[in-house]
């Protein structure tokens, strides 16, 4: 069951044959022999109530961490927007046996971190206090107090927080971008407002709890200075008799991208920079054969300081502190996003530049060098991640959650290294929208509107709740 997986970083191997012996500062030094990466598979236990326990031993430091994750998929809140998150917060507000103050004191006394949320929680502690910390986590999950006083406190905090967010350009952008992409009736696009929060009741919170906090489809991952047998024994004692609702992964309907590229403008009069996001929806599962080409295409376009977007928008033009792109992957509809905070006066130029760089990667083959470098980054970060035993644990959990082949991560670098220039271009055309994408600008509309209108795209205006406003 427990085996050590060894991977050679193939990309670095070729350098070694030509390793030089004399010192010459004018040339970049050659790499040494490829390091061997080895990682252990976790020990896995399955409980009859649906819970899966994964244990990775790492005795370097005297600490143990546990994370509990309930795989509920996407949760639709509808009119009760805010209830799911508030329910997660309420799990930190005391248990049936312990009022909040006593619970907090019990956690802090250990020097531990125990925190809960709507999809589970975590407990980190010094080795000697880990059993108590895990017990507190389990009590928070299984016997929350749900008292009205704490509910009112959290609701008032949520309301105050909402008010304060209203001038935070980045926060507004984060909310409005997903709302415009997915629509506000989709679990990815919906968000809470002062109105929805005001209408929530403690019963709403309890009904979300009864449905979503359950051992069904749950994973308890324990990493650190602990023997698997002891971890199992602790988990059994605390969780094996726990019963809860049966979860099934929800089916969410697919949302379409716009037919023609459109600019969605959201006015924030206090903004000194515009948050620009160029984004479209995609379907890209972890076992999709396009996945590795799409990840590499994204890395070349916007993965870091040497990518197209950073080079053009920051290094060449100085419009922004940083411009990046991301591509999601998973079981549900995900997004491709290219984003930067640019100075107000350069908003329209930056939009043009974003689209030009996306066009470039769609229409022109990337250089062999760019592709080689992007692959090297993946190989390198795979090695760098080996410092963190949490990563090994997350690989195993991903395999289970996404129903991936057992050797998915063992062959991960092979698959990355097999991607060709043509594969990258194919993926860029398939996943990075150009003529049917959405450009969302959150900034000072008074200063950017006229210039945006000169671009060959329709400009639509929305308020910060993604509701259309009359165009002036």
């Amino acid at each position: 069951m427990k085996k050590v997986i060894i991977i050679l970083l193939a990309v670095f191997l070729c350098h070694y044959a030509e390793a030089q012996t004399t010192f010459d500062r004018t040339h970049q030094p050659e790499a040494g022999p490829a390091p061997v990466i080895s990682f252990k598979d976790p020990v896995i236990y399955k409980f009859p109530n649906g819970m899966i326990v994964l244990v990775v031993e790492d005795h370097r430091l005297p600490r143990v961490s546990a994370s509990f994750y309930i795989d509920a998929g996407l949760v639709t809140e509808g009119k009760k927007a805010g209830a799911y998150g508030l329910m997660g917060q309420m799990l930190n507000e005391g248990t049936a046996a312990m009022p909040k103050a006593q619970f907090d004191e019990a956690v802090d006394k250990l020097g531990a971190d125990v925190s809960l949320n709507s999809s589970g929680g975590k407990a980190d502690a010094l080795t000697r206090y880990f059993p108590q910390a895990l017990e507190l986590l389990s009590q928070g999950l299984q016997t929350p107090a749900f008292r009205n006083e704490e509910f009112e406190k959290l609701r008032s905090q949520a309301l105050t927080g909402k008010q304060n967010e209203s001038r935070n350009v980045k926060a507004v952008s984060g909310q409005v971008v997903n709302a415009l992409l997915y629509g506000t009736d989709n679990p990815m696009g919906e968000f809470s407002t002062e109105e929805t929060i005001k209408n929530l009741t403690l019963d709403d919170v309890k009904s979300f709890y009864n449905k979503y906090i359950t051992p069904s489809r749950s994973y308890l991952t324990i990493v650190g200075d602990i023997k698997p047998a002891l971890a199992k024994q602790l988990a059994e004692k605390l969780f094996v008799s726990w019963k809860g609702s049966n979860l099934a992964l929800p089916v969410i309907s697919t949302v379409k991208n716009p037919v023609k590229t459109v600019i969605d403008l959201v006015d924030m009069p206090n903004a000194v920079q515009s948050e620009i996001t160029v984004s479209n929806l995609i379907t890209l599962k972890l076992n999709d054969p396009d996945l590795f080409a799409a990840k590499l295409a994204n890395a070349i376009l916007g993965g870091g300081a040497e990518a197209y977007l950073f080079k053009s928008l920051r290094e060449k033009r100085g419009f922004t502190y940083g411009a990046y792109s991301t591509i999601g992957s998973g079981r549900f509809q995900e997004t491709f996003k290219a984003n930067a905070a640019v100075r107000t006066a350069k908003t329209d130029s930056a939009v043009t530049e974003f689209l030009a760089q996306i066009t470039k990667i769609r229409s022109q083959a990337v250089s062999e060098e760019d592709l080689k470098n992007a692959k090297a980054r993946y190989n390198g970060s795979f090695a760098l991640n080996m410092e963190d035993p949490q990563v090994t644990a997350s690989y195993s959990r991903n395999i289970l959650i996404n129903n991936l082949p057992k050797d998915y991560y063992q062959t991960y670098l092979q698959k990355i290294n097999a991607v060709s220039v043509a594969d990258v271009q194919f993926a860029a055309q398939k996943y990075f929208g150009y003529d049917n994408t959405r450009v969302i600008v959150v900034g000072n509309a008074g200063q950017v509107r006229e210039n945006l209108k000169r671009l060959p795209f329709e400009v639509k205006e929305y308020d910060r709740f993604a509701q259309p406003v009359a165009v002036k």
Binding site: L9, V11, F12, R25, H27, Q28, A31, G32, P33, I37, R60, L61, P62, R63, N92, K100, A101, D104, E105, D108, K109, L110, G111, A112, A125, L126, R128, Y129, K153, T160, Q163, N164, S166, R167, N168, V169, P269, N270, A271, V272, Q273, G304, A305, E306, K311, R314, E315, G318, T320, Y321, A341, R343, E369, N373, A376, R377, G380, A383, L384, E387
Partner: protein, 441 residues
């Protein structure tokens, strides 16, 4: 290797055995003939190496009228060198599977790369190129000038509460160069001539003002040879002249108000000027902030957020720097609570610390909390490299400081905590800052 040193203890009675485990970070250190201080830590757990250089230069080495230089160099020194073409520096790192970055404080600038360990030589080459002959020219200065302005817009001007720290420091350091923030003045950067940037480099970015700190999957004796090959030719420079500016004590409470267009919710803060990070008192103040605001059972959080429900957030921390520190407490109201009520309630807890010893239970609690935090600081090789370099740079060449920290924490008594609260946290020694939403334009 991190060696676990287990000290078992035997106690009778009801208390759990307070077993103390300290990880000792082993290291080798030496000076090169050009004055470069080298620190090496070997750890073969993962095939990873961190190569870092800590230059003992920050915004406090700048002069009025030319602020923001040290941070500007954080950007400029990625532009290229005699052997690395413009724009290639970061590309080389990424193309070889590494990560790199840099950051600047008031006191030092820290550059690093983390690589798979077969690229160790590449890390040495990059950092030695940067120290030996970086290209500092007009085009690099112009580009990075724009980038830094955007950084300031993003991190300060467009960010809620982004001006808090600079507003505090301006008030409590009227004379000392901590007066201005590392990001500096954009007008100063616009006016600076290329020759001024070049002179700043020649003064401060020199081997005798730097620590090369390396941690990870290396072989010490081989590393020594390589380091002398790569860094040996960097010339030694004049010793750095730095005289600490002494501030007169604050004897009467200062009050200031600033406005921020990015917020709706006001904030109140009280800040006390305290001794620098090499002092024992600085550590004691860190413990005081643990008592006041670390965890939901901490004094301020429990009282203001949970019991009285008058704050959305409350916190305190010791912003410890080389010459001085700033002990900052702050709160954001909930339920429209007036700011002065928040300040009063924070003050009450401070007075309790000044009047009574904290309980034995609370004392054990903060010891556990600090021990747990400490363990995580040396979990990765980059953290080890930085902690060792910090010890040498800021604790009187005591590279082993990171190993002594747990012992220092244990040596601090409840009486020390009470005395430090009395000595430093008096209303007449502080600045009260009202941080308010700007009116809608």
């Amino acid at each position: 290797m991190l060696k676990l040193k287990k000290l078992t203890c035997w106690t009778a009675g009801m208390f759990l055995c307070q077993q103390s485990m300290a990880q000792k970070v082993e290291f080798t250190e030496y000076d090169m003939p050009n004055g470069l201080h080298v620190i090496l830590h070997q750890d073969h757990t993962a095939p990873v190496v961190a190569v870092s250089v800590m230059y003992h230069v920050g915004s406090k080495n700048e002069v009025i009228g030319r602020t923001g230089f040290a941070h500007f160099f954080e950007h400029l020194l990625f532009e290229g060198t005699d052997n690395i073409k413009r724009g290639e520096f970061m590309k080389i790192v990424a193309a070889n599977g590494g990560e790199n970055n840099a950051n600047t404080t008031q006191d030092r600038t820290f550059y690093y790369e983390v690589f798979p360990s077969n690229q160790f030589k590449l890390g040495l080459w990059l950092e030695s190129e940067r120290m030996l002959h970086p290209v500092i020219n007009g085009i690099g200065v112009k580009t990075q000038n724009e980038v830094v302005k955007e950084e300031k817009r993003m991190r300060v001007d467009n960010k809620p509460y982004g001006n808090l720290i600079s507003a505090i420091f301006k008030n409590i350091f009227p004379k000392h160069p901590y007066n201005w923030a590392p990001i500096g003045s954009m007008a100063d950067l616009d006016e600076a001539k290329l020759s001024e940037f070049q002179a700043f480099f020649k003064t401060y970015y020199v081997p005798n003002n730097a620590v090369l700190s390396i941690a990870g999957d290396i072989n010490i004796s081989q590393a020594r040879g390589l380091i002398s090959t790569y860094f040996g030719e960097v010339p030694k420079s004049e010793p750095i002249k730095y005289t600490k500016v002494e501030e007169a004590p604050i004897t009467q409470q200062l009050v200031d108000t600033v406005y921020d267009a990015n917020i709706q919710l006001p904030m109140i803060s009280a800040t006390y000027r305290v001794p620098g990070m090499d002092s024992r008192d600085s550590k004691i103040l860190e413990m005081i902030s643990t008592i006041l605001s670390n965890g939901a059972s901490s004094k301020l959080y429990k009282k203001l957020v949970d019991d009285k429900k008058e704050a959305l957030q409350v916190g305190s921390f010791n912003y410890a720097l080389e010459d001085y520190g700033a002990y900052i407490t702050y709160a954001l109201p909930n339920n429209n609570t007036p700011l002065h009520t928040l300040l009063q309630d924070i003050d009450e807890e401070v007075v309790k610390l000044q009047t009574n010893l904290i309980s034995e239970t609370d004392y054990r609690k903060i010891q556990n909390q600090l021990e747990k935090n400490y363990i995580s600081t040396n979990a990765k090789v980059l953290g080890v490299a930085e902690n060792l370099a910090d010890g040498y740079t800021f604790h009187h060449k005591n590279t082993a400081y990171t190993n002594q920290e747990p012992e220092q924490i244990r040596s601090i008594t409840r009486e020390d905590i009470r005395n430090a609260a009395v000595k430093y946290l008096q209303p007449s020694f502080r600045l009260v800052l009202y941080y308010l939403p700007a009116k809608n334009s």
